[in-house]
């Protein structure tokens, strides 16, 4: 209450003397504020660091993040809180190794698929149960996939999985522990989809949950999964609390974790402001925080907090060129933009060690990634200028190039959801101006972005975003002319063979042989980056967690989502 009192003193009339009192109070407040900002925040004891010691059971993990769950239903969601909490409440058929990209067993012990990649047979574990005691079997798989793909209008459940499992026909159940998933056309990426842990994930819900309406699923106690934690409470805007599932014993074998989770409880606290998340960590109010501000990483590390991170798997943050709209219909302009910005400057001013400058349209963690930093994805303003000169772009009076009376103005549409985006784009804007390209930025919140994407074909030269999917087929999803068509490749795109693009990208869905797939992925990247210059990848976004040194074993999976089954606190509190 004392600052309230000072606020009153600040203005209480005390005859003559009070202005000076008020002044002194004001100066005092400022001094306290200033001294508070001094970087040294006292030393923290690092004696607790005992990473090698045996895990301690028990305790509550206070975790902070920017978003909140809008519904406890794990099969829908578009933000990180939703997918992350869903991952700790439900399990998937398979587990993708975050390092190798290999698909390994989880609820399915083994699997095989037909040669044409339209039928996938999964052999399920037989000891798995839901937290209400009901068994996990092939009927459950069928019921989940059916509702996941088709939705249920009566229950108000959306077809959340329709985008992930295109061409899904049905799931057959030849016996209680065998499930056969059938598709209309080859879908090599389904194997990875069966391990998918990002937005709107295929985590298994009990048959009783599937019968519930969207409204009934907002009662967290009724949302039943097989995961290492179960819901205790859900308070939108504020927090979700999970408690340990008793008897859990089926975490992915690749994690080498036996039995139940170590923690008793996890509290996911929603804290929208970056500085408040950081402050809450340093003051000990939370044990760990996701969504760490880039400028806060170093000071936190200096104070003894651990910074862990994993690049978001899938594409880099990309500038997708509109290949049929002036002036990005000119390949010289597209190439000049690829070459025209200083990667070092962005690395130095905008990114931290947790992030990296993009060296391909795919993130390095995606199987099949190839490095293009030596060819087209490098800073070479001289070459960029030359390309523009050769293509007939002459420098105008204001430094912006002109061709046939039209200025080289490139309009970009981006999303402001990641703090790094705006400064990174502004840095590129500065550099491109030097070579005579006027990059106009419109970086807006998600609703305005989605509204504008609908008009992107005719209105925007560049759309900037990223797509999270740890499988090279993401390129087909994002750029395939019949699918996402991110660069609007049509017969109106000068110099681009639409069929070639469709065929090259489409091949990624046709095989699961690692060597062949790698070859196809390389061909796809060559085409997108070198041959047609359809995309200018900018940086690889990253999920960054800062945690106190008494926290151990937070796992980043292949989609860069976190799992807490193996997490423990050395103080056990």
């Amino acid at each position: 209450m004392s600052d309230l009192r000072s606020a009153i003193e600040l203005a209480t009339p005390r005859r003559r003397r009070w202005p000076w009192v008020a002044g002194a109070v004001a100066v005092g407040v400022l001094l306290v504020a200033a001294s508070g900002f001094a970087l040294t925040r006292g030393d923290r004891s690092t004696g607790e660091a005992a990473a090698a010691a045996a895990p301690v059971r028990g305790g509550t993990l206070q975790f902070a993040l920017i978003d909140y769950q809008r519904s406890p239903d794990p099969q829908w969601g578009t933000n990180y809180a939703e997918s992350l909490i869903g991952n700790n409440v439900t399990d998937k058929l398979t587990w993708q190794d975050p390092d190798t990209g290999e698909i390994t067993p989880w609820l399915a012990q083994s699997w095989e698929y037909t040669k044409d990649l339209t039928e996938f047979t999964f052999h399920l574990r037989e000891d798995v149960t839901f937290s209400d005691g009901s068994p996990f079997d092939s009927q459950v798989v069928k019921a989940n996939f059916d509702q996941y793909v088709h939705g249920d209008e009566k229950l108000g459940i959306n077809p959340n999985g329709a985008v992930l499992l295109p061409g899904y026909i049905e799931t057959l159940t030849p016996d209680p522990y065998t499930a056969v998933v059938r598709f209309r056309k080859p879908l090599a990426s389904f194997l990875q989809a069966s391990s998918f842990t990002a937005n709107a994930q295929p985590g298994f819900l009990s048959l009783s949950t599937l019968k519930l309406s969207a409204e009934e699923r907002t009662d967290p106690k009724k949302v039943i999964g097989t995961g290492p934690f179960v819901y205790e409470s859900w308070q939108p805007q504020v927090k979700t609390v999970l408690v340990r599932r008793k008897g859990y014993n089926w975490s992915p074998p690749a994690l080498r974790h036996k039995g139940e989770a170590y923690l008793d409880r996890i509290v996911f606290n929603t804290i929208p402001e970056a500085s408040v998340r950081t402050g809450s960590l340093t003051s000990g109010a939370v044990d760990a925080t996701l969504d760490v501000g880039t400028t806060d990483e170093k000071p936190l590390a200096d104070q003894g907090f651990r910074i862990i991170h994993r690049g978001v798997s899938g594409t880099a943050i990309f500038f997708n060129f509109n290949s049929q709209l002036f002036p990005t219909d000119d390949i010289a302009v597209r190439r000049a933009i690829q070459l025209g910005w200083n990667r070092e400057a962005i690395k130095k001013t905008v990114l931290t060690d947790s992030y990296s400058v993009a060296t391909s349209v795919l993130a390095p963690s995606v199987p099949g990634y190839a490095d293009y930093s030596g060819s087209v994805l490098r800073y070479d303003p001289e070459k960029a200028r030359r390309l523009l000169d050769e293509a007939g772009w002459k420098e105008g009076p204001d430094g912006i190039r002109v061709k046939d009376g039209e200025k080289l103005v490139v309009k970009l549409l981006g999303i402001s959801n990641l703090v790094v985006n705006k400064p990174a784009y502004e840095s590129i804007q500065q550099d491109l101006k030097k070579i005579g390209i006027d990059l106009r930025l419109t970086v807006v919140p998600i609703p305005d972005y989605t509204a504008n994407v609908a008009k992107a074909k005719t209105d925007w030269n560049i759309t900037a975003a990223n797509r999270s999917r740890n499988d090279p087929a993401v390129l087909n999803l994002q750029y395939g002319p019949a699918l996402g068509n991110g660069s609007f490749v049509t017969k109106d795109s000068p110099g681009i063979d639409v069929d070639e693009v469709a065929k090259t990208l489409g091949k990624l869905e046709l095989t699961l042989d690692p060597a062949t797939r790698k070859q196809y992925a390389k061909a796809a990247q060559d085409l997108l980056l070198e041959k047609y210059a359809l995309v200018n990848p900018v940086y690889n976004p990253s999920q960054v967690i800062a945690h106190a040194d008494h926290v151990h074993g937070i796992i980043f999976d292949a989609q860069s989502r976190n799992h807490f089954v193996d997490t423990w606190k050395s103080n056990g509190k």
Partner: protein, 314 residues
């Protein structure tokens, strides 16, 4: 009197209906499609058209706009605002869950803002030196010129993270309320203080004060006894604007302090074009606004004898 009351209530109902309707129009003027906002923004181009249609049908967004409006209005009249597009929960329950938290914040901030405003007005009126008076009179405009998010973030840095006096987030009763209250009260106090400064000054020059001077009263005594009593009345008159300021300020205060509340819910609902939820919130706010105006209209004549006379005539 009864006719007066009926008229006022009728007007209040009109305002609520018009707000409901106008919001509906505004939401449909916005170029974004609520169905798109249920997907990851990078995925939108990949969503098959039939899936999109199915989802639109799920929420009734595929029906003609006029029918949608009439259906929503019809349900709203029975107190049913439907379910939130985003969470699937009934709108009324969703709002009622977070309403208490916002009410506590707003009521507390209002009380504190009134206190600050009175203190500023008293200081300005009783200050003898002109420059001091001028400086104090400038405080209200200073108060409204400091962005709420900046003052909130700075106070958290100092009082929560450095000094550890108050929790930064979560609900720990009164302790958790102090900083949000101050943050929200500062901008809200601006217009009230501005108004009080002016009316105090006017009262000071009016006849009864001159009489008190003549009787040898002290400056402080006059301020407290006469001016305070008579000049407080006008504070009621900006109740409506103050209510609006509280609502607007709560959006940011609740975000900075990670509090549950109607303000933050409004922002999220608008950002996701959650039509039923926005409609529910707007009706709530409009009803609150109309209610406050109604109360002011009814109370004011009771307090001010001059107006009571007018009322009897009209």
């Amino acid at each position: 009197m009864l006719r007066y009351l009926a008229l006022k209530i009728g007007r209040a109902l009109f305002v609520v209906w018009a707000a409901f309707t106008l919001t509906f129009v505004l939401l449909f003027v916005l170029p974004a499609d609520p169905v798109d906002l249920l997907f990851d923004p990078a995925e939108i181009n990949t969503v098959p058209p039939e899936v999109r249609e199915q989802m639109a049908a799920n929420y009734g967004f595929d029906r003609p706009v006029l029918l949608q409006y009439l259906a929503r209005l019809g349900h709203a009249l029975t107190g049913d605002f439907g379910t939130s597009v985003q969470s699937g929960r009934p709108v009324v329950a969703t709002i009622l869950d977070v309403l208490p938290s916002t009410l506590v914040l707003a009521a507390g901030a209002l009380a504190l803002a009134l206190l600050i405003a009175f203190v500023i007005a008293l200081a300005a009126t009783s200050a003898r030196r002109a420059w001091v008076r001028n400086l104090v009179e400038a405080l209200p405009s200073g108060a409204v010129s400091v962005p709420v998010f900046l003052s909130g973030v700075l106070m958290l840095q100092v009082f929560s993270f450095r000094l550890g006096w108050f929790p930064a987030f979560g609900d720990r009763g009164v302790e958790s309320l102090v900083l949000p209250l101050i943050t929200l009260a500062i901008p809200v106090s601006g217009p009230i203080a501005q108004l009080l400064v002016r009316s105090f000054a006017t009262e000071f020059r009016s006849g009864y004060v001159t009489t008190s001077w003549a009787k040898g009263a002290t400056r402080g005594g006059i301020v407290v006894r006469d001016v305070f009593r008579n000049a407080s009345l006008p504070a009621l008159t900006i109740a409506g604007i103050t209510f609006g300021n509280l609502i607007a300020g709560s959006v940011i205060t609740e975000t900075v302090f990670a509090r549950q509340g109607v303000g933050r819910m409004t922002q999220a609902a608008i950002n996701t074009l959650d039509v039923p939820l926005v409609q529910g919130i707007v009706v709530l706010v409009a009803a609150g606004f109309a209610l406050i105006n109604l109360i002011v209209d009814l109370i004011y004549p009771l307090l001010d004898p001059r107006l009571r006379a007018t009322l009897a005539v009209g």
